[in-house]
């Protein structure tokens, strides 16, 4: 059995375990052309074909079309780049037409239409095909010289967005299936928080939020460019309101459903605890400037709050474990960092005071007081050296030379501290994963829950396949070592599965004892002076299949 356990570890497919399996589509080459094309491009049931990639690129093109439509309404952007807009439109229509024709040609191979009498006609009448048709029709109608109102054309082109339903509808169906019989709040939780119940819909939700974060931050940055904000001021106002609307709804959904998260139970206490977490507090900061500016702009100038909209970028750190690790490291090393900061502060004050002492008479306008000299001291000690203020007296220069050299060492301390602490933390986390792997692989099999844990931890620690393989090798070696030095009984008792295995091993050993020993002599000795109780002897007989 132990041998089979080790064999299991040696044969473990780490690619499959980490979900990074690169499956090659198993499509025979001798298939008829139409079947072969369908299998490679459109069949959703064949792993490793191009169906998912095709869907992804088409989705990106649809989103790009949406942006193009928005910017077409901005004369300052559209008019100078009209040619590029037209080229992009033609490119999109060509791609969408090829896609439409491909689906039309391959309809007889599609599970949905192949059973119909006229499968291609059935395809044309299907809702997705109708949407696809309306996405390209306006372009051809215009090409045919049909005098359509420009607004109608634009509206029809807007239908291209509906092509996204090809991805959204299956995701919703999957989400419904995963959440069958669950409460409304659990469903909201599954959509907003990563969980096994989220599926593709949760990924789409996260991508949607991330896109709005990027759009919103980009607009804040572009607002500071006069030539752009002058022209697109109103568009930025609308975009900000929509972004705040989306982020506010997301915030409310998180607060509402957080009680489904482990560790956040309790209608008020749980929600308050969630609101206090850094990521949710960031979510709150992302929407706060909008409301403050609207309500309080008549009382005080809150223009500075607009910069805080950039805090939305921090929303992208949600789920980024590296940020969490960094904060943990800073928290852990805080006493050392604060000591280094104190030494830095002492050095700055000392340098500034000496600078004032030696340079004040020679350059009263630059070194007019110690607070002003602090600026010069920081710039010198941090090796920035703007050069707008510099010592001119020989003693001032000598002092600066010494202090600048000392500054290099002192100012580097916090960075070095952080780097080494970060590296220590990573090593600790890897050790924890190793221990986890050891426990998981010990029983010789990996269930679904355990593989989720391994996948999540490997992803969190950014481990490559090779690194996980190396860890497994270590576990095998340690496992072999442990074979020679078995665990104490209380350790085995902690895991019922191990306890069962141990019990079976012990039974086997007792049976072996019965086979090899002199049975008559055993019974005589056992009965002599009551070495074994009646119950123990009875148990011995039972194990030896000799019921008394």
């Amino acid at each position: 059995m132990e041998r089979s356990k080790d064999q299991f570890l040696k044969n473990l497919d780490v690619h499959a375990l980490l979900g990074q399996e690169e499956k090659e589509a198993n499509i025979p080459k001798n298939l008829p052309m139409r079947k072969w094309l369908y299998a490679w491009l459109l069949d959703p049931n064949i792993e490793g074909n191009y169906q998912k990639s095709l869907d992804k690129w088409i989705s990106l093109l649809i989103i790009a079309n949406l942006f193009s439509l928005v910017f077409e309404h901005v004369p300052a952007v559209f008019e100078p780049n009209q040619l590029w807009f037209e080229i992009f439109d033609i490119f999109s229509v060509v791609v969408f037409t090829i896609e439409y024709l491909l689906r039309f040609y391959l309809a007889p191979e599609d599970e949905e239409f192949k059973s119909r009498t006229h499968s291609r006609f059935a395809y044309i009448r299907s809702p997705f095909a109708i949407i696809d048709f309306f996405a390209i029709a306006p372009f051809y109608l215009k090409l045919l010289g049909l005098d359509l109102d420009l607004r109608v054309l634009r509206f029809l082109r807007l239908l291209r967005i509906m092509k996204l339903f090809r991805i959204i509808i299956p995701a919703i169906a999957e989400f419904k299936e995963l959440n069958k019989g669950r409460t409304f709040r659990q469903k909201v939780h599954a959509l907003v928080f990563p969980s096994p119940f989220g599926g593709t819909a949760q990924v789409i939700f996260e991508v949607f939020i991330a896109v709005w974060v990027l759009l919103s931050v980009l607009s804040v940055i572009l607002e500071s460019v006069h030539s752009i904000s002058y022209v697109l001021n109103m568009q930025f106002v609308v975009l900000d309101a929509v972004a705040v609307g989306i982020f506010t709804i997301e915030y409310a959904m998180r607060i509402y459903s957080c009680v489904e998260e482990p560790g956040f139970k309790g209608a008020i206490a749980g929600r308050f605890k969630q609101a206090k977490t850094p990521s949710t507090f960031i979510d709150f900061l992302a929407i706060l400037p909008f409301f403050l500016e609207v309500f309080l702009h008549h009382l005080i100038d809150l223009r500075f709050l607009r910069v805080f909209r950039l805090a939305r970028l921090l929303k992208l750190t949600r789920g980024n474990d590296a940020t969490v690790t960094l904060f943990r490291v800073i928290k852990r090393e805080w006493p050392m960092i604060s000591s280094a900061a104190f030494i830095m502060m002492l050095l700055v004050v000392l340098t500034a005071s000496l600078g004032y002492l030696f340079e004040h008479e020679a350059q009263a306008e630059k070194f007019d007081n110690i607070p002003n000299s602090i600026y010069w001291a920081v710039i010198t000690l941090a090796s920035v050296g703007y050069g707008d203020i510099s010592p001119v007296t020989p003693i001032g220069r000598a002092m600066t030379t010494v202090m600048a050299l000392v500054g290099i060492g002192i100012f580097a301390i916090p960075a070095a501290l952080l780097a080494s602490a970060f590296s220590d933390e990573l090593a600790k986390e890897r050790d924890a994963l190793k221990a986890n792997l050891f426990a998981i692989l010990k029983d010789g099999h990996i269930d679904e829950e355990e593989s989720i844990v391994i996948r999540r931890e490997a992803k969190r620690l950014h481990l490559t396949i090779e690194e996980v393989n190396a860890l497994i090798e270590t576990v095998i070696k340690e496992h072999e070592l442990e074979e020679r030095n078995p665990w104490p009984v209380h350790k085995i008792a902690e895991k019922p599965e191990l306890a069962v295995e141990h019990f079976k091993t012990l039974l086997g050993q007792i049976r072996q004892l019965g086979v090899h020993t002199d049975k008559a002599e055993f019974e005589r000795l056992a009965g002599d002076r009551h070495r074994l109780t009646e119950y123990e002897l009875d148990l011995w007989h039972k194990i030896q299949n000799k019921s008394s």
Partner: protein
Amino acid sequence: METSSEHSHHVVDTGVNYWFLLLMALIVVAVTWLGIMNFTEGKKTEVAKANGEAWVTWLTEQGAARFEPDYKIEACKGGVKPSGDPAKSDAPVLGTWGACLDYIMKNTDLKDQNNTFFNKPPQLLEKCIPTDISTSGAIIIEDLMPTPPGSAIPFVGSQLVEADPIDYKMQLRVSVCDKGGYAIKVAEFEF
């Protein structure tokens, strides 16, 4: 046999939480309402910018023609030295910005402009003041004087006041004040 009370323990309420949906709807309504408020305020700034642009258009057009001999508007004609001391005269003195401004405010479309922040004609101010929202929608016309070669900034702007002579080719800058009293540069041009 399972009693009804035992059975009720296994029932999971999969219905929609209408209170939550109501809260969501309220959020959407509130953000939409605030968004419309922002949009309306933004529109007012757009009107202020349009006012500034109208000044730029008129002044640029006149700037291109006012040094021509057959230029019709005497009050804004280039090359005309101020005919008197503006400080001692009650009426605008020809050859000064005061005379040209007087002509503009009496004879052009610019006199009908509206500052939508306060629904009255826009003021011509020296500068926008962020702490004073009564400057919102005001128009700032500055004369840009070139600084000596080698200076860090190429121009120094000063408010065009009524006594300023306009007999030479001038470099002007028009700005408007937004809802927070901050200046938005509209354009720099020759007059």
